[in-house]
């Protein structure tokens, strides 16, 4: 029989229970979704890294000649080095009209920094005419195994036969440089050729890099390498590679999203459950008394009400797990949000074990809430329980001592007293509105910030039409000639160490202003001749400010440069920027690697001096696809925020309506019209909404600021909130609240005046 009652009780409070289920489902859904996302990233990438022998360390020759087989043996001889390989990756142009380029890769060891064959013939280390091409690049450009492909290198053409289509973890995120946010396989891909081919083309077997698999700690490894090679060399850890760092960055984002957002939802769900169950226990008081008087044991009654909560928690969790899988799939599938970013063979989804523990804990917590709210009532004697509980007496509120009180309308007084009498309900509504506001402001503010970032970085900072990458073999005179012919500005990058941290020293000569620098404030700043500009991350990490001095040492040399900091700028890379004049006065040796010009990409004449050309549009295009993914996420969040608002407000609104049923009936009897009563109910909700928005707005800004630092510190973005965001988030929140209030106010037409008057308050 109690089972039947369970079903009917559920029916009676279905608005509350369904809203509870939705909240749990969304909370658990986001929790499961994002935690699965980061866990899946880590699992799938690490199995990919494992499979293709992703290197833990890269020893870079820099400006020195390079490494030979004997250097490789010295490294392999280090105790603790699992395996190592001579490695080369160089950007080459593919013969054709639109200057596609490939990162051409050679590795001498198939266990290190190798690839996974997706289709076609297996790798042959002795092949002198074979190339193994990125399958994504092949798909975008309609290449098939067996087709021919012609590469340009130092003015010569090399025609190779495509043997196989591949993926490689070295190019998990295949971008030409960190200035481009998203891969664009139509323009840029990667390919492997054999060491035999490399020897044939260049005539020697010297490689610029040794890739190493080893679990030796960073400091020890660097020391051992320097000893083995008897000189200071630049050693990059895998954290300094785009592929690994960005993949782990995505995973970190998932962790942050998976811990911050669900907490907002679940916290509100649990608090709403506490409020609801407390009310239900109070309303079911008589029934509990009857059951007890009939002789049901406390345990049965407790079980009855606890199982109601268990049911709600369980149904919500099951739905939530379903939503979670969808969220994860939406991000983690080859055609999904992450599919345009990661180029990997396996997209199997994994659920971390702690997710199950947390879900069980949430369900247990819900059950406990039901248990505790009934337990208190049960401790009384049946006769006491059967006597209706007198409502908590109203108290004077602070405002009444002021003169404003007397001037207030009856409705305002009634609503204010109600708020003070049912603090927990009012507080929950407040939280719901604030939560909705936080999510809306956070989501749309993120978009504003990103857009402002694009504007300032790509519109202001990148004032050129094309960036010409100079080939390594170009002579100084060739470069001079090219600079003159395209009337360009130029830049160079020197890898340096700042207190054992690898950063890049960027040197610019920008008489035309084709590259601009953005100060932390967002203002443009000129490069002063006698000073260095550090990026915000370096400024933060090393606590340097304007006027301080920093010491940089270039790799492979014993020199040290002492630079005076002239300012802090925003930069995509972790870098120190100086002008060419300052570099010369310090005696820094550098070689121009990029020329920035207003000449369009298609009009830059091909030349052996040029490695590749990137137009601003190429970069903008990659940014557009990034923004598309971002916009989808933001829509998802806005929908979640609105659902949160609707659910919380509807739940609490219904509760408030039920609690004041008698009062509303009395007002109706006395002669208040339906509309007047509706406006009273809406008025209270709007008051709470207004307060909730006042709290939610700064809170949303705080959360956004936190997320910007946690999710995207590498972009050094400044929080921006557009007027549209203010308008939309305020109007949407107020709109949601108004809509829900009206829905509830509509119920007052159904008040049964006659029945209500028969019941004692």
């Amino acid at each position: 029989m109690l089972k039947k009652k369970l079903v009917r009780t559920f029916g009676q409070y279905k608005a509350q229970f369904i809203s509870m289920i939705i909240m749990i489902a969304i909370g658990i859904g986001i929790f499961v979704g994002f935690n699965m996302e980061w866990f899946t990233i880590e699992k799938d990438t690490s199995s990919f890294y494992e499979e293709t022998g992703f290197a833990d360390y890269r020893i870079v020759a820099g400006s020195a000649i390079g490494f030979t087989a004997s250097d490789l043996e010295k490294i392999r001889a280090i105790d603790g080095v699992e395996d190592a390989s001579l490695f080369l990756s160089v950007d080459l142009n593919v013969k054709g009209e639109d200057r596609k380029s490939l990162a051409l890769t050679v590795t001498t060891n198939e266990n290190v920094s190798f690839f996974k064959l997706m289709r076609g013939a297996p790798y042959d280390a002795e092949s002198t005419d074979g190339i193994w091409l990125s399958d994504s690049f092949a798909a975008e450009n309609k290449f098939e195994p067996g087709d021919e492909l012609t590469l340009l290198y130092e003015g010569k053409e090399y025609t190779l036969s495509i043997k196989g289509l591949i993926k490689s973890s070295e190019y998990l995120i295949c971008v030409p440089d960190s200035g481009q946010l998203m891969p664009d396989f139509e323009k840029y891909g990667f390919a492997y050729v054999s060491p035999a081919f490399y020897r044939l083309v260049t005539g020697f077997s010297v490689y610029p890099q040794i890739n190493v698999k080893s679990s030796i700690p960073e400091k020890t490894f660097k020391r051992l390498v320097n000893r083995a090679l008897t000189k200071t060399t630049l050693v990059l850890t895998k954290n300094e590679t785009v592929s690994y760092a960005e993949a782990m960055g995505e995973s970190e984002e998932g962790k942050t999203m998976g811990s911050v957002l669900p907490v907002v939802f679940l916290l509100i769900a649990v608090l709403a459950m506490v409020t609801t169950m407390h009310r239900i226990a109070a309303k079911e008081r008589t029934q509990i008394g009857i059951l007890k008087a009939l002789g049901f044991r406390d345990r049965r009654i407790l079980l009855h009400y606890s199982s109601l909560c268990l049911l709600i928690g369980a149904v919500g969790s099951v739905l939530g797990i379903g939503i979670g899988y969808l969220v994860c799939y939406f991000i983690m599938n080859p055609n999904g949000a992450m599919g345009t970013y990661f180029d990997m063979p396996r997209w199997t989804m994994y659920m971390p074990w702690f997710v199950a523990v947390v879900i069980l804990a949430v369900v247990a917590l819900f059950t406990l809430v039901g248990f505790l709210s009934v337990k208190r009532t049960l401790s009384e004697k049946p006769a006491e329980i059967l006597r209706p509980k007198t409502g908590g007496s109203a108290k004077k509120i602070l405002l009444e001592k002021t003169k404003i009180w007397n001037k207030m309308s009856f409705g305002a007084k009634w609503n204010l007293r109600d708020v003070s009498r049912h603090k927990s309900r009012a507080l929950m509504s407040l939280l719901g509105v604030a939560g909705c506001m936080v999510i809306l402001v956070g989501a749309m503010g993120m978009r504003d910030t990103m857009t402002a970032f694009v504007d300032s970085y790509y519109e202001d900072a990148m004032n050129y039409a094309s960036r010409v990458y100079i080939s390594e073999s170009a002579s100084a005179a060739d470069i001079e000639g090219l600079i003159d012919s395209v009337n360009g500005d130029f830049g160079a990058t020197v890898p340096v160490e700042l207190e054992e941290k690898a950063v890049s020293l960027e040197i610019y000569s920008v008489p035309h202003g084709y590259v601009r620098f953005i100060a932390e404030s967002g203002e443009e700043t000129k490069l002063e001749e006698g000073g260095a500009y550090v990026c915000a991350r370096i400024a933060k990490e090393f606590r340097v400010k304007k006027g301080d001095e920093i010491t940089l040492s270039p790799f492979g040399k014993d020199k040290k440069y002492v630079l005076k900091v002239a300012g802090v700028i925003r930069s995509l890379t972790e870098s120190v920027v100086i002008s060419e004049a300052y570099a010369s006065s310090l005696g820094v040796e550098f070689k121009v690697d990029s020329i920035y010009t207003k000449v369009a990409k298609s009009e830059v004449a091909p030349s052996p001096v040029i490695k590749s050309v990137q137009s601003k549009e190429d970069i903008m295009k990659s940014f557009d696809s990034f923004m598309t993914v971002m916009n989808e996420m933001i829509v998802l969040l806005i929908v979640a925020g609105v659902i949160l608002g609707v659910v919380v407000l509807y739940n609490l609104g219904t509760m408030g309506y039920n609690e004041r049923y008698l009062e509303l009936a009395t007002l109706k009897v006395v002669g208040f019209k339906d509309k007047k009563i509706a406006s009273l109910l809406v008025g209270e909700n709007m008051l709470i909404t207004f307060l909730g928005m006042i709290i939610g707005l700064p809170l949303g800004l705080g959360v956004l600021q936190y997320l910007l630092v946690a999710l995207a510190s590498e972009y050094e973005m400044k929080l921006v909130l557009g007027p549209l965001t203010y308008c939309v988030s305020i109007l949407l929140t107020a709109g949601v609240s108004l809509l829900v209030s009206l829905l509830i106010a509509k119920k007052n037409k159904k008040i049964d005046m006659v029945a209500a008057l028969k019941a004692p308050e």
């Binding site: 009856f410 009897v669 019209k673 308050e761």
Partner: protein, 232 residues
């Protein structure tokens, strides 16, 4: 024509398949300024009668004229207006708003009744001036009922409708409340209709209407006794 006139009034409650006839073609006329008691057992139909008079419900058949105006076919809003301007209610369980003070409970009728009396004056009349700023929960049952009488009269209505006004009170307090009710009704020249199953209250009435099984059994006019003459 009498002030209150019911002609062929029936009320049938439908719940699913079942039909329950609460009132069966009732004819009734009540003169202005009279003190009327409707007597009957529970389920006799007396509360239904009161609800119809008060505009809380509409009859299934028949017409109800109050002061010459038919209220049986009014819309929801028109009924609300009728209740606001013409009727004052006093209920067994007082039905005060717990979150409003005594003054505010009475003052709230100012929002809807065009010719309302000042709330302070009505509260003074029922002798609760000292409790003006108290909440209902801080008052005794008798005091709460006095507030509800003040609220009913503050509207300055034509009719005062009372449903078992002493039902939740002890005998002495009940008598006191009745006395107040009658005094106020006389003073402000209101028609007063009390629904009760208490025979003693009937002795104080000008007219006693007995209801049974949804029909009027008798209508007696009598010489009323004062409250002090009735043996409680």
């Amino acid at each position: 024509m009498a002030f209150i006139e019911l002609k062929g009034v029936s009320k049938i409650y439908k719940s699913g398949e079942h039909e329950l006839s609460a009132l069966d073609s009732v004819d009734l006329a009540i003169e202005k300024g009279k003190f009327v008691v409707i007597l009957g057992q529970s389920g006799a139909g007396k509360s239904t009668l009161l609800n119809l008079l008060g505009g809380l419900d509409s009859p299934s058949e028949g017409t109800i004229a109050i002061g010459g105006k038919d209220i049986s076919k009014l819309s929801r809003d028109e009924l609300a207006e009728y209740r606001a301007s013409t009727v004052g209610f006093v209920f067994q369980f007082y039905n005060l708003i717990p979150t409003l003070t005594v003054r505010e409970n009475v003052a709230l009728v100012k929002e809807i009744a065009p010719k309302a009396f000042p709330p302070e004056k009505m509260i003074e009349e029922v002798g609760l001036s000292d409790h003006m700023n108290h909440f209902p929960s801080e008052l005794s049952g008798g005091e709460q009922q006095r507030v509800s009488i003040a609220r009913a009269l503050a509207k300055n209505p034509e009719i005062l409708l009372c449903d078992e006004p002493t039902g939740a009170l002890d005998s002495d307090t009940g008598v006191m409340v009745l006395k107040l009710l009658l005094k106020m009704a006389k003073e402000y020249e209101k028609t007063i209709v009390i629904v009760t199953h208490n025979q003693n209250i009937a002795k104080m009435a000008d007219v006693v209407i007995r209801v049974k099984n949804g029909k009027i059994r008798s209508i007696e006019e009598q010489m009323p006794l004062s409250a002090d003459e009735v043996e409680w």
